[in-house]
């Protein structure tokens, strides 16, 4: 049987649903030693801001049961250095490159998009309105329906390339944010970004991470992510990229059943950077065994 693993995110065609999540693959070079990027559906860069950002002081990371907290603070090289020093490496691969953009102001989102959109290697944008670890922008935008609508609208006016809005799970009704994105011209949403969390050292009574709170990721958040994906899927007609604690191919299938057109693998890259390529292979085997000709037929195939 000829299995068709390809999926579409609006106008963006991917050879399979496996993408690598922003902030878990840097700018591609390190992970390319473990996984053949050309076999993946897409990769999403570390969040880029207009100017380089130093990020938060240590500690930035703490392990929690079945998960981890991170407060990196959007450390990145900035759009100019990215174009000059990181794009030449990424150009060598035949894999859709999605640039994640983070900003403190609406104007900064616009300016980043304007600069990056001229680079043909970049096939789409993911707009980070939901980083829990920076004071300005980040969660403040992600919790504000009007801000999400306005950012989407302004970015839409700046680029003809597909835009994905990365949604925060730290809201009570995520479908409203997906609808605001859709109504203002987004091609898709990705869900979810990390959940706000913290952890304390019981001896020192201090938080385990310098930023006090961080973003929780890993298998601990998978049920939350699935519920958010399902909520969007049932209420808003927009492609969803599912993210949250994917550890193997079965988790990918589960996210697709819940409503995802594609998925992003994040924390798993830190533990087994060779896993994404293996998961693509295992998805094909699963489809073969289950006589699923087109993997896209799994999207939102839930029976409630």
């Amino acid at each position: 049987m000829n299995i068709d693993l390809s999926v579409k995110i609006g106008s963006l065609a991917l050879r399979n649903p496996i993408m690598l999540a922003s902030g878990t693959v840097g700018y591609g070079n390190e992970i390319s030693e473990f996984t053949d990027l050309n076999k993946l559906g897409g990769i999403v860069t570390k969040s880029l801001s207009l100017k380089p950002r130093k990020g938060n002081p240590p500690q930035r990371i703490a392990e929690t049961p079945a998960g981890m907290l991170n407060a990196i603070g959007l450390a990145n090289v900035g759009v100019e250095v990215f174009l000059k020093e990181k794009i030449p490496f990424l150009k060598k691969f035949d894999v859709p490159l999605i640039c994640n953009i983070a900003a403190s102001t609406i104007d900064e989102y616009i300016e980043c998009t304007r600069i990056l959109t001229t680079e043909e290697t970049i096939k789409a944008f993911e707009i980070n309105i939901s980083c829990p670890n920076v004071r300005e922008g980040g969660l403040i935008f992600g919790n504000d329906l009007n801000a999400v609508a306005k950012i989407t609208d302004k970015v839409r006016a700046t680029t003809g390339k597909p835009i994905v809005i990365k949604l925060s799970p730290n809201v009570s009704y995520i479908a409203a944010f997906a609808k605001a994105a859709k109504d203002n011209g987004a091609d898709a949403v990705s869900a979810i970004n990390t959940l706000l969390g913290t952890a304390f050292n019981i001896n020192t009574r201090k938080p385990k991470i310098h930023n006090i709170t961080g973003g929780l990721s890993g298998p601990a958040i998978k049920p939350v992510a699935l519920a958010k994906v399902l909520e969007i899927s049932r209420e808003v007609d927009i492609p969803i990229i599912g993210i949250g604690g994917i550890m193997d191919w079965k988790d990918v299938i589960e996210f697709m059943i819940a409503g995802s057109s594609a998925v992003q693998i994040g924390t798993l890259n830190f533990i087994d950077p060779s896993a994404p390529g293996k998961i693509v292979q295992q998805l094909e085997e699963y489809c073969e065994k289950m006589s699923i000709e087109k993997i896209s037929s799994l999207t939102a195939s839930y029976i409630l």
């Binding site: 902030g23 380089p52 500690q59 079945a66 450390a75 890993g218 830190f270």
Partner: protein, 253 residues
């Protein structure tokens, strides 16, 4: 960098609460350098989720040794790995110590488990340079001298060797150190490294230090392990990729 499933050959309790894990890893032993590290997945389960970084303790042919104490769930699992099981290791990672140069005597300075990288270091320098090892700990149980040469010991409570910290012991031996062409190689707790930095700057000793920081991936993608650079305040260095060994002048400790 490789990810391999390495057979466990033995787990040895070498001293009070200090363990050595002996594994077979020819792909790694043939290339790893003293001061480099491995990121070890202690279990296939989701808890503990992340790999644990360990510096290479010693290498003997195809055998690789890791030294650790039981700090939590991850190291507890490691200490009880049965012979014949396998562990998933990622490495070699980071930059090791630079053993070359025109110094005559390598001065090892270690506190507690900071001694871990130095058995392999000592093995590699054997016959090439003289070595003096200054090894400290809080009490006698924390002074780890496994496979080290020419050891001078210090303990905070005086239960073993010199009473005081290891940098105070260096001060005691300043004439000896000044009489030789030395390079210092160090690993240990932050308070020790801070005092050591002052000592080395004051006496104009060249010093390489192995640093540590909580990290997830170990090879640069998570950005979880920043360390402040003395050269460029605009960005952090990463312990995993730019280190873990730095010249002590180049980083803020």
């Amino acid at each position: 960098m490789f990810i391999i499933n390495a057979p466990v050959e033995e787990t040895i309790e070498i001293d009070h609460r200090i363990y050595l894990l002996k594994i077979n890893a020819p792909e790694i032993t043939s290339i790893i350098k003293p001061g480099q590290f491995l990121n070890v997945r202690v279990s296939e389960r989701v808890f503990p989720l992340l790999r644990r970084p360990f510096s290479v303790c010693d290498v003997d042919g195809e055998h690789l040794y890791l030294m650790f104490n039981i700090m939590g769930e991850g190291t507890n699992i490691l200490a009880h790995k049965p012979k014949g099981s396998t562990i998933d290791i990622l490495g070699p990672l980071g930059n090791g110590f630079n053993l070359t140069g025109d110094y005559k005597t390598a001065v090892i300075v270690a506190g507690g488990l900071g001694a871990a990288p130095f058995p392999y270091f000592t093995r590699m320098l054997n016959g090439k340079k003289d070595i003096i090892s200054f090894i400290g700990g809080r009490t006698k149980d924390d002074v780890i001298t496994y496979n080290l040469k020419n050891v001078k010991e210090a303990s905070d409570d005086g239960s073993r060797g010199f009473k005081g910290n290891v940098v105070q012991l260096l001060e005691e031996n300043i004439e000896l150190l000044k009489s030789k062409n030395i390079k210092v190689f160090a690993c240990g707790p932050t308070v020790m490294l801070r005092a050591l930095k002052d000592f080395c700057l004051k006496n104009n000793f060249n010093c390489e230090v192995s640093t540590e920081c909580a990290m997830a991936c170990g090879f640069g993608i998570c950005q979880g392990c920043p360390i402040e650079s003395t050269e460029d305040q605009e960005k952090y260095l990463l312990v995993c990729k730019d280190g873990p060994v730095f010249n002590i002048k180049d980083v803020v400790i």
